[in-house]
Symmetry: C2
Subunit: 585 residues, 2 copies
């Protein structure tokens, strides 16, 4: 037995006990005759005290200790004279009678503290040291708790956890697959799953009724910030369900997670919003509804007043920012620059201030005060408010205004980490037209069912009609971040075949890539639907962070590299030959 207690365990009532502790040396303080060691493990920190009466041997060993040495110490628990209320063991200390170095440590390349002095690259290379820091440890503990609670809850509502394969068939439709050359079937490749989508649907065909899995998925995409080539999903599917059944089931799961992990209680049903409303009022398919500041379309009220910017715009809309009427010229200029950045792409910013001295705007030339008052009334604006207006092409401008809304929410402190605003968004378009390849793509994925009332349009040959088909799909949005997405699926072979036809796959391609699932639908497929949650991001949001990287034990960098392992890497010629492949170019 290496230890009798952990470093987070001893309390005043343990006084007088002889204990054996192990851990890492966080800090050694030598105060004249006394030496204090902060001994750290996953469970906490305990203060070890070496007083003047200690053996020479003990003193000698203590003299050798450095940061991050692994030691074992034996001693007696005593009450501390100066207590530390910040740590759970702060009322006691252990007077050391024996000490041993279990493993020495070189000086770590950065400090192992909540705030480290190490740069990102350095910490990535020594990830095993970075993982010793409090914020990462707490992130891993939170993730563990989330995973356990997800499973406990889904088990309690009789979902079955079923593992699906990782070595599957390459059927890229959307993102790129990672592939794995097969040695036993030379010239052929497995693919790593982008999600277990088809397998979970087959499990519904197989009668499993309620399936889930916390599962790794793989996408070979160019990595934007905070995307990982491998990521984890809470993947779920149910048979004999309509949208309402799915939303209620997973609202149950999410509510349970909030309560059990964060002790946050939701007493009312989560709000719901159509995709059309989300775009109209928030300029986003994932609105952050922690704050209101809804967008108002102004086309009808501002056109025809000889202001060409508005007259020529497809869309004019604004938001009302409370109490910002006193923004200075400089602040407004800076905001104008902000919306003109290429990421936002607006051409300019119109403002209306509701000051004590009356209404003032950057378009006073074109609108009389009465007209501006009428406009302000549409926002329920009051004295002290500032209205910000963008104009231009419809979709782009709505999205830009949505971004401006989020930015103003940030500036006004309306997006607090410890406030949680869940939201269901539903009725997304089924298809997206791509001008470049001159074909439709599935907005969600090709297994998503069209809304029953749009079935006629779905079979139409008219592109415009197809564009208008809505999907029986839904997203779960938390604080403006899309955490989950799902749909009621197609379960009839002929509808699935029509879908592939709409997507421009010919019969041969369809049979080769997706024959197995179309076949499966012919042998008694039940109506079914499901959802998948991005587990990495779910954990990060629960931890109050934007970036997922701290919630993944061994993440990759933006070039898809594991800098600790130095992977990917070259492999032997012999290994390649055995696989029947060669590198080119």
């Amino acid at each position: 037995m290496y230890r009798t207690h952990s470093n987070g365990e001893l309390r005043l009532q343990d006084q007088g006990k002889e204990v054996k502790l192990v851990g890492w040396v966080q800090r050694v303080r030598n105060l004249g005759g006394m030496t204090f060691i902060d001994l750290r493990d996953r469970y906490g920190i305990t203060q070890l005290t070496i007083n003047e009466q200690a053996d020479a041997e003990v003193k000698d060993i203590v003299g050798q200790l450095g940061r991050e040495f692994v030691i074992q110490a034996t001693g007696a628990v005593v009450e501390r004279s100066s207590k530390n209320s910040k740590i759970s063991t702060g009322e006691i200390e252990v007077i050391i009678s024996k000490i041993a170095i279990l493993n020495a440590a070189e000086v770590p390349p950065f400090t192992i503290e909540d705030e480290s002095d190490g740069g990102e690259e350095l910490r990535a290379k020594y990830r095993y040291l970075d993982l010793r820091r409090g914020p990462l440890r707490r992130a891993m503990e939170l993730r563990h708790r989330m995973a356990q609670e997800v499973r406990c809850y889904l088990d309690s509502v009789i979902f079955l956890e079923i593992e699906t394969p990782f070595l599957i068939k390459s059927t890229p439709e959307g993102a790129r697959d990672f592939v794995v050359p097969s040695r036993m079937n030379q010239g052929e490749f497995y693919a790593l799953p982008q999600s277990p989508q088809t397998f979970k649907q087959l499990l519904m065909v197989a009668g499993y009724d309620r399936y889930f899995q916390i599962v790794r998925c793989f996408r070979d995409e160019d990595l934007r910030a905070d995307r990982q080539p491998e990521f984890t999903q809470i993947d779920c599917e149910m048979a004999f369900v309509e949208r309402e059944d799915v939303l209620q089931t997973f609202e149950g799961l999410i509510t349970h997670l909030f309560k059990s992990v964060l002790n946050v209680e939701f007493k009312e049903a989560f709000p719901r919003m159509s995709y059309a409303d989300a775009m109209k009022y928030y300029g986003s398919d994932k609105p952050d509804i922690r704050f209101d500041m809804r967008m108002v379309e102004l086309n009808d009220v501002v056109k025809g007043k000889n202001f060409s910017v508005f007259d020529n715009a497809q869309y004019i809309g604004g938001i009302c920012t409370e109490g910002c009427a006193d923004y200075t010229r400089k602040q407004l200029d800076e905001l104008t620059e902000w919306v003109k950045r290429p990421q936002i792409g607006a051409t300019g910013l119109v403002y209306i201030r509701l000051t004590a001295e009356g209404i003032k705007s950057s378009v006073d030339k074109f609108y009389i005060a009465e007209e501006l008052q009428k406009l302000a009334a549409l926002f329920n604006a009051k004295q002290g408010d500032l209205i910000l207006i963008l104009a231009g092409a419809k979709r782009k401008t709505m999205e830009a205004l949505g971004s401006l809304r989020i930015e103003m929410g940030n500036r006004l402190g309306l997006r607090q980490k410890n406030v949680y605003a869940p939201l269901w968004v539903y009725d997304f378009p089924l298809l997206e037209w791509d001008d470049e390849t001159q074909r439709f793509y599935a907005m969600h994925h090709p297994f998503t069912s069209p809304k029953p009332e749009d079935m006629d349009k779905f079979y139409s040959k008219d592109k415009e009609a197809l564009r208008q088909v809505n999907a029986n799909a839904y997203d779960f949005v938390l604080n403006g971040v899309e955490i989950g997405g799902g749909s009621i699926r197609i379960h009839e072979a002929k509808v699935q075949q029509r879908m592939f036809e709409v997507l421009g796959l010919n019969a041969e391609e369809t049979a080769y890539k997706f024959g197995f699932i179309i076949d499966a639908f012919k042998y008694g497929a039940p109506p079914h639907g499901g959802i998948a949650f991005g587990f990495d991001r779910f954990c990060a949001l629960f931890g109050g962070q934007e970036s997922i990287r701290d919630y993944i034990a061994f993440p990759k960098n933006n070039a898809g590299r594991d800098v600790m392992l130095d992977a990917p890497s070259k492999i032997d010629e012999a290994q390649m030959k055995e696989l029947g492949i060669a590198t080119i170019g």
Copy 2:
């Protein structure tokens, strides 16, 4: 709402209720005016009854039904006149007033019954139909239960579940890696993990103290029967532990699994046996101790009697099979043929019968009755027993005798499925010498620690000394099947470096492949150890089956193919070009 109840739910007390059920048509029986449908789902079977009073429309739809149609039926719950005690809903039936076909089904290619008429290949192609059968459904349910109980237990003893990456670095040492070409880092490859071994050790270095994961692993090996290229492990690691801590912790887990999943209680500690004893008494490193029948070495008692087969043998040993003295000549000849098969490889079989008429053997020419009696006494053999003896090269003959022991156990019905005999085997050799490549290989893996008392030998230059080094390793064996294996690991950089040196890796190779873990050991690595269980096999054994294939939802065949998906498969030239690879040969 598609349904009000599942098909396993309705009881006598539900009489009179109007219910809506959904499911698959298992069977339609038309008995003159009455029609009975067995409606199946994951939860059970409910009898639907269509009587003469039913609407013409209902009768019409019922007339169209075939096996595996998906239907929805509404009706009233009534008490059955002829009850069926074999199913949970056997006391009631539902008199149907409305029925709808949710999806038709083509005639399935094999019967969806506990005993199917479909061949293995056909059932593999239509795995989603095979999975509807009772035995597979129960296998999946058992696996689900096992996974939940593993996690609940390990969570309760404060293990943290931490996910490790799947796209890692190729460091083949033992089995072949599956590799994944990197598009973003052309000419380089990721590897899929054979196990998370190095990551879990890094997590111990990172201070996580107790880690687990139920995780997929990948090995590109030539598939023997019942091996899969991807398989699942319960992977665990603990810091600051000795062997005793690990064994006790996981004996707790296993005991919990037996109790919670099978309601089997173990009141006493699991037996333990050294590898040396396992070989000596059972001719196997994974003894089935459900029955005794220990091997007895006979070298001392049988040599020097002019029987050249024994005199020239390195090893002579036997087993005593109770009550088999009446084996006929034919039976003994057949047994002799059995041991001579190449898989066993014995050259012959000597027997001694203890009959009522006295002792009789196939070597009466060389041994007098008194000598045979003395020999029989070594086995505590009694009248009616049969002693079977093999002779030859030591290791090979011991293993052959071990196989014969298992075979006799089977023939005598001593290996009952519902009897469970757990066993810890420990102190394996650390290294295996390979004559072909003229080097040592790690018997477990290169991170396994030598026993402390063998450390001098470990640093020796003498091959014979190295051969004698024992590993601080242990296996968990259940009913003669190795289910788990683990070890106390090396945690000192210099010992790890010595290990790679012993394995014939030069300094450059060691640094390239394993630099990160040797580095990690320099920054305060705690003593640590762990274990991994083969989850597929664990589930199969709990289900009383030898083959793991029914315990994996979508397994591959012996050629590593998924015949349902038809994977692996060819991929586009464009896809390969993007990855910077080409196929050769």
